[in-house]
Symmetry: none
Subunit: 73 residues, 2 copies
DNA sequence: TATCTATGAATGAACG
DNA sequence: CGTTCATTCATAGATA
């Protein structure tokens, strides 16, 4: 629900509050909540990226600076 | 091993020495060693922080989540 | 049974 | 330094 409401990177306190609420339904740690938000946000971006990459493929001369990418090797 | 021995923020020389040793097992640069120590230290503290937040958890305003839930099956 | 998919977890890299 | 991001690993469940 919080995520749908727009929350993407909750801070430590928010994480703990969410964890406390979820704890009512089973064992859970802040770490789990943290990972969940990280993964959801990341995978949301992944899909967006995939779509935009195919649709408007940028010219090959474009050099992207300062983007967080791992070197191929 | 060095980390377990207490090393947390190696200086440039120490990093180079560690890098040289690890180089025996594969390609590696000083920055990799640098990042490794940074991350390990940071995540050690993250864990501490999470735990401390749980311990003196401030009163949480009761929020009723999902009063209506779909049956699991 | 083999392949695919979704997701929690983890880690290297880098930002502010 | 604390935090965020990109990518990869591991595996349970779905699908063929």
């Amino acid at each position: 629900m919080m995520y749908r409401g727009g929350m993407r990177t909750p801070n430590a306190q928010q994480i703990e509050q969410i964890t406390a609420q979820l704890g009512k339904y089973g064992k859970i740690e802040g770490k789990n909540v943290f990972y969940w938000f990280q993964n959801h946000k990341a995978r949301e971006r992944q899909k967006q990226k995939r779509n935009s990459l195919v649709l408007n493929s940028p010219p090959i001369t474009t050099i992207t600076l300062n983007t967080r990418m791992k070197p191929i090797l």
